[in-house]
């Protein structure tokens, strides 16, 4: 019997397991295929990192987040594994060829589902022995989920081609129906797979929302909050340009150190801002949902949504980035009635109009020319008629509208926000602390300043006070031993 605590100390700096981690590892080490539902910040990376370290086997991680895969690589390197690589469509052809030729040098291989569907890539991976296949964000396999990725449906066959290695399917937030769907699509019957399901509830995050009259009022509320709230914060926006603009406004009006952060930035800039945030050299990032997939900052005290997300799952994922150190934290959703149209527009952009669908069905050769047509191509290739495809997309549209409505209901609720949120994941809570639950139980908006003083801790900066003297910085940059 392996002493898991001992292995944890041997291969990581963590002192103890987070809830669910040990259970998942035990299942995997007993060679049981596993579906793990762990909340954001639940330490999913550690699971396969530790499995790889203990068994010395190769781990293939299928991840849908192409633009952020490099962050995941960095994160694994940060956690101590050095033989890590990502294969994505974003890399240059020569790079991919070189990587595939030296695949045996890597123990952890991240790959996007689209790349894995590529025959050359799959052949190269199949030549290596795989100990564990990890399917990250496994809910992307679910056709009626908001993040459906057709290439995930190929994973069932791909796994066979890899010699049916042990599998770990992971997701942060999946309803019961989604969980069943994941298993069915991967070709499992529920009794053959171990399920480790941790509660979605994060008791140390206080939930609140504020409905503002208009954008002007919302901006003012945001400035007030940011000026006074203690500790590090993330503010989510649905557009890059607004994140940039608001970062500039907040810098000017609050005296806090605020930067924008989004996927459209050059690597070095993104890295620097991420480092500054990690080192507490900046206090607040104005981000799009791209933020924070690769990094794990424990002491984020609050998450504010300037724009509402498209659904409850995304919301729970995003607020899950605060309070990872277990200390009291705060989630605030700011809303003004026009915000829903912004989401509706974003939604319209992701679901094809009938006209476009008709055009593509008439000119199917164009389906391969644009990555955005991937889902349409999937239905076309699977013999769905134009009428059937139209119906599928219309249903998808309705579903997303329903999900948005649920999100708006959360904002307007006159009951307990936590209960409403958890209901969505078929969860109930028993030991609720009304003072630290949500703004239904207490007059949070009348007393948020005292909540802040009482519960939200100030940050102690790791980065020592900024120096302006280059000589002093240089002296500190390298620790000389002589």
């Amino acid at each position: 019997m392996i002493d898991l605590e001992e292995q944890l100390h041997r291969y990581s700096d963590f002192k103890s397991f987070r809830p669910g981690q040990k259970a998942v590892l035990t299942q995997l080490l007993n060679h049981h295929d596993t579906l793990a539902v762990l909340p954001t910040g639940g330490g999913k990376t550690l699971l396969y990192q530790l499995y790889g370290a203990i068994t010395k086997q190769r781990v293939i991680i299928v991840s849908p987040l192409i633009s952020l895969m490099q962050d995941q690589v960095s994160r694994l390197q940060y956690l101590g594994s050095k033989r890590v690589i990502a294969i994505t469509s974003a890399m240059a052809f020569e790079e991919r060829v070189a990587i595939l030729a030296h695949l045996n040098q890597y123990q952890f291989i991240y790959v996007s589902p689209e790349m894995l569907a590529n025959a050359t890539v799959l052949a190269a991976i199949s030549r290596q022995e795989t100990g564990l296949l990890v399917v990250d964000e496994a809910h992307c396999i679910s056709e009626w989920g908001p993040d459906f990725r057709p290439d995930y449906l190929k994973l069932r066959t791909i796994r066979k081609q890899l010699g049916n290695p042990l599998i770990l399917m992971m997701t942060a937030t999946a309803t019961k129906a989604t969980r069943t769907d994941i298993l069915v699509k991967m070709g499992f019957s529920p009794e053959n797979v171990e399920q480790v399901i941790m509660p979605t509830n994060r008791a140390n995050i206080f939930l609140s929302a504020k409905i503002c009259l208009n954008q002007k009022e919302k901006n003012q509320v945001l400035v007030d909050l940011v000026s006074q709230l203690n500790g590090a914060g993330i503010i989510y926006f649905s557009s890059k340009s607004q994140a940039e603009q608001m970062a500039a406004t907040l810098t000017q009006q609050t005296g806090k150190r605020v930067m924008a952060y989004h996927g459209g930035m050059a690597n070095q800039r993104r890295f620097r801002i991420q480092q500054q945030f990690m080192n507490d050299a900046i206090e607040i990032v104005c981000a799009t949902s791209a933020f924070g997939m690769g990094i794990d900052k424990a002491n984020v005290r609050y998450v504010i949504h300037y724009h509402l997300p498209a659904n409850i799952q995304s919301y729970v994922q995003e607020i899950g980035r605060c309070g990872r150190d277990g200390h009291q934290s705060l989630a605030i959703l700011l809303y003004e009635p026009n915000d829903q149209y912004l989401q509706l527009n974003l939604m319209a952009a992701t679901i094809p109009e009938n006209q476009l669908l008709a055009h593509l069905y008439q000119h199917p050769n164009q389906l391969s020319q644009n990555d955005a047509f991937r889902v349409i191509k999937y239905y076309y290739d699977n013999g769905k008629s134009f009428e059937q495809a139209t119906q599928i997309f219309n249903q998808a549209k309705l579903r997303r509208q329903r999900e948005l409505n649920t999100m708006i209901r959360y904002i307007y609720t006159t009951g307990c926000r936590r209960k409403l949120l958890l209901q969505y994941f078929d969860e109930t809570i028993h030991d609720l602390n009304p003072d630290l639950c949500c703004d239904f139980h207490t007059d949070f908006w009348g007393h948020w300043q005292s909540f802040n003083q009482q519960y939200l801790m100030q940050t102690q900066s790791v980065e020592k006070k900024p120096l302006n003297d280059w000589r002093a910085i240089l002296d500190r940059l390298f620790l000389l031993k002589n």
């Binding site: 101590g80 070095q268 080192n279 990094i295 280059w470 500190r476 940059l477």
Partner: protein, 350 residues
């Protein structure tokens, strides 16, 4: 980078400069026309120095500068600096290391060198603190492999001391604490994340483009210094940075032309390229190479040259092909342009 700042820096008080050509020169868009204008503006050594940066829209930049009275537009897309613009140029140049340093970035991939150096600094800084748990930068697969190999080969060579001494010497020799401060903020390391160009810009009160130029030029300077130390542990970080002054295909055409007595038509057929492409290659080589390394006399027959000389206006750069052709009906555009290039290069040599 803000194109407006670049227009001030590379604009001229007396010579009208085409905005689009100027942008293409800095961005290194290699066409005969852009190379020719670079020669005409004496900016050939800067060709492609800013190829790794987004340079923005010309029209917005011109409108802005004209509105501020810093330039006058001679037509919609050509401009000259006003006196006020020239003053502004002088002020901006004071913030930068000698502008000639930028030519190093035209000959070498300085941006790539800087990202390698910054990553190497991070690794050595963390190594000096015996810290293995940090987020490494991502600089692309090949450079990543290069840095790994470099570190394994050199880590016994007291790298922390080497970096400390190298940087101390380099920054001291700048004799400018402000530039030294700006440079050091480009680095990251143990519990130090440096600053972005806009953070520094706000702190120093200069445009972000100036910070980016300062970085580029300082790294260019550092690159040359490291290149001059044959035993430097950083040698491996310098591989593959040199940029060829000519495109590969141009070089092939030129070599074929020099080493045989083929006509351009024969070269086109042998190389299976268009005749116009052969002429473009030859013009590109004529512009880029020193006069004595290009066979001008073979391509520009003496009678044609004499005819051109007898009709040339005082400023050949402003001579339009249409006018020349009216005077010399047999003249081809290739001969006309070659004559302009030869004239300009001879004047430069004088």
């Amino acid at each position: 980078m803000e194109l407006s700042t670049l227009y001030i820096l590379f604009g001229d008080l007396t010579q009208t400069r085409r905005a689009k050509a100027l942008k293409n020169i800095l961005a290194g868009r290699r066409t005969v026309s852009n190379l020719y204008w670079a020669l005409e503006y004496d900016l050939l050594p800067y060709f492609g120095a800013l190829r790794d940066f987004k340079l923005g829209d010309e029209k917005n930049a011109l409108d802005r500068l004209a509105h501020l009275g810093l330039i006058v537009l001679t037509d919609r897309f050509s401009f000259q600096l006003t006196n006020q613009g020239r003053d502004q140029q002088v002020n901006l140049l004071k913030l930068l290391p000698p502008i000639k340093k930028l030519t190093i970035a035209a000959q070498n991939d300085v941006v790539r060198f800087s990202s390698r150096f910054i990553f190497a600094t991070q690794i050595v800084s963390e190594y000096s603190y015996s810290n293995k748990r940090y987020y490494p930068q991502t600089i692309g697969f090949f450079d990543d492999q290069l840095i790994k190999r470099w570190f394994i080969q050199n880590k016994q060579r007291q790298l922390p001391n080497y970096f400390q001494e190298l940087l101390d010497r380099f920054l001291t020799q700048l004799h400018d604490d402000l530039l030294a401060e700006i440079f050091i903020q480009s680095l990251t390391g143990h519990h130090f994340s440096g600053e972005t160009e806009d953070q520094l810009s706000a702190k120093m009160g200069v445009p972000p483009t100036i910070i980016q130029l300062q970085w580029l030029m300082l790294y260019a300077d550092l690159l040359t210094r490291v290149q001059q130390i044959p035993t430097s542990p950083l040698k491996l970080l310098l591989v593959g940075l040199a940029r060829s002054p000519m495109a590969n295909s141009t070089n092939k055409t030129l070599i074929m032309y020099r080493n045989t007595d083929y006509t351009p038509e024969q070269i086109a057929s042998r190389r299976r390229i268009k005749l116009t492409t052969v002429y473009e290659h030859l013009l590109e080589a004529a512009i880029v190479l020193p006069v004595n390394q290009f066979p001008f006399s073979r391509l520009l027959a003496e009678p044609t040259k004499q005819a051109l000389e007898s009709h040339q206006p005082s400023i050949i750069g402003e001579w339009a092909f249409k006018e020349a052709k009216a005077a010399i009906p047999d003249l081809s555009f290739f001969e006309f342009r070659l004559f302009q290039v030869l004239d300009k290069k001879r004047k430069n040599d004088d």
